[in-house]
């Protein structure tokens, strides 16, 4: 049976790895290559890297860094940050990343999703959407540029548009839940799951394996991504790269 994917999501910032809270207070948590080596040993399901500087600084992905990460990595990789063209996506796949994520560039120009799926195949095109709960309208608002810029298009409408243009996966990143380690926004997960039929990954809020399991119980086979949970230990957030799956998934992995 196809299993849910438990995915550490690592943020690249000024050459190192950081972890944020609600997209703020980036805390240094280590060296990216060292993290890849540890996650290799832990046999993780997938690894996602997001360069949080690239779009904000309006620059291209750092290909030498991506190359060094890909060569070290023995697990499937996804990269996001500053990707604005199908040519870049092709280069990133050639470097050894299975999937390439786009966010603000795809919101600004959705046909990029189609161009990328023609170049590298739908299965490798990931569309990541950062969202905040909108208390006034009890819905969700899309943000870009690390939570700085509000985007007008409604979330569910954009998700459906992304699917129709050839996205292979949608990553929903909750800004409110980022770094809080109190669990995923399950209502958000259910809303998106109901309108798309491609793989979905949730990010933001996971703090324990119970949170991962709660997401799986709510939406079925899913990507459960987390940052804090896999880089911190204990209530004082001591840096410790670690990995854990919910019991049932771990049993299948150990079979």
């Amino acid at each position: 049976m196809l299993r849910s994917r438990i995915i550490p999501c690592l943020l690249l910032h000024q050459g190192g790895l950081v972890k944020t809270r609600q997209f703020k207070e980036p805390k240094y948590v280590g060296d990216p290559l060292n993290a890849v080596k540890i996650f290799n040993e832990k046999e993780v399901d997938e690894l996602m890297f997001v360069d949080i500087d690239a779009t904000a600084e309006n620059r291209n992905p750092s290909m030498p860094l991506l190359r060094s990460l890909a060569v070290e990595s023995r697990m499937p990789l996804c990269y996001g940050g500053g990707v604005t063209s199908a040519e870049q996506a092709t280069k990133i796949v050639a470097t050894g990343f299975e999937k390439v994520s786009v966010s603000s560039a795809a919101l600004a120009r959705p046909t990029l999703i189609k161009e990328m799926s023609e170049a590298i195949g739908s299965q490798s095109v990931v569309v990541t959407v950062d969202v905040k709960a909108n208390r006034l309208f009890s819905g969700y608002t899309i943000y870009t540029h690390n939570g700085q810029n509000k985007h007008k298009q409604p979330l569910l409408e954009f998700c459906q548009q992304a699917v129709s243009l050839g996205a292979g996966e949608i990553v929903i990143n909750s800004i409110d839940h980022d770094g809080q380690m109190q669990g995923y926004d399950l209502k958000l997960a259910r809303q998106v799951r109901d309108v798309i039929d491609i793989p979905m990954t949730m990010l933001g809020g996971a703090g324990t394996v119970d949170h991962l399991q709660a997401l799986i119980d709510t939406v079925g086979t899913v990507g459960a991504a987390a940052g804090s949970m896999f880089v911190f230990k204990g209530q004082y957030r001591a840096v410790l790269i670690n990995y854990a799956r919910p019991m049932r998934l771990q049993a299948q992995h150990n079979s």
Binding site: M1, L2, E98, A119, G220, Q252
Partner: protein, 204 residues
């Protein structure tokens, strides 16, 4: 010596890294003399079927590989789209494949999958191994492999199917015919099971 065929498609670096860690002699190359000197080949590949076939043809290596694999009987292992192009044709394109293992590449029927997600088939899935296949020695079928695809190898001869994966229905995910082997999943990204497949390939 294992040659990873560097014709311009696929994750050659990740595959080479596994051979390096296994301390097995290997080379990433498109050089004719180096390819002729090798006794085994890995054929990687990602992207669309026609694009991959085009790239392979443009590399000028099809004739050489044909001679070595069919003339000399050297072993070759195709991975992902590198596996699909071992077949005759594909739903995804119009170009003929290499035709080394009879079969057609079909799109997985989304209607066969009850729940979301449907396509692509993405993630870790267990496999069912058919018969005695030395390439699967020390592979744990329940743990399985990492998959990332929407098309599968519909093999013409059921004897050429060495493993299947359950997704909507039972789909072939490993095929073999004589000295030609193909895997739909990504052994280079499948941890210990994947490493076992590459180690076995170097020993058969």
């Amino acid at each position: 010596m294992i040659a990873i065929v560097d014709y311009g498609s696929g994750n050659v670096a990740a595959i080479a890294d596994i051979f390096k860690r296994l301390k097995l002699p290997h080379v990433i190359t498109r050089d004719h003399a180096e390819l002729q000197a090798a006794d085994r080949y890995i054929l990687p590949g990602v992207g669309a079927f026609d694009t991959t076939m085009h790239t392979l043809k443009d590399s000028g290596l099809v004739g050489l590989l044909n001679d070595e694999v069919h003339g000399q009987g050297k072993k070759i292992m195709g991975v992902c789209v590198g596996m699909q192009i071992l077949g005759d044709s594909s739903d995804e394109g119009v170009l003929p494949g290499l035709g080394w293992i009879p079969g057609h590449i079909r799109r997985i029927d989304p209607a066969s999958i009850d729940n979301s997600p449907k396509l692509p088939h993405m993630g870790w899935n267990s496999v069912r191994i058919k018969g005695a296949m030395p390439l699967f020695d020390s592979v744990d079928p329940e743990r399985g492999f990492y998959f990332l695809h929407s098309y599968y190898f519909d093999a013409k001869d059921t004897e050429s199917i060495c493993a299947t994966v359950e997704y909507g229905k039972e789909l072939p995910c490993a095929v073999a015919s004589g000295n030609v082997f193909g895997f739909q999943f990504h052994p280079e990204k499948s941890h210990s099971n994947g490493v076992a497949v590459f180690r076995n390939f170097s020993q058969i």
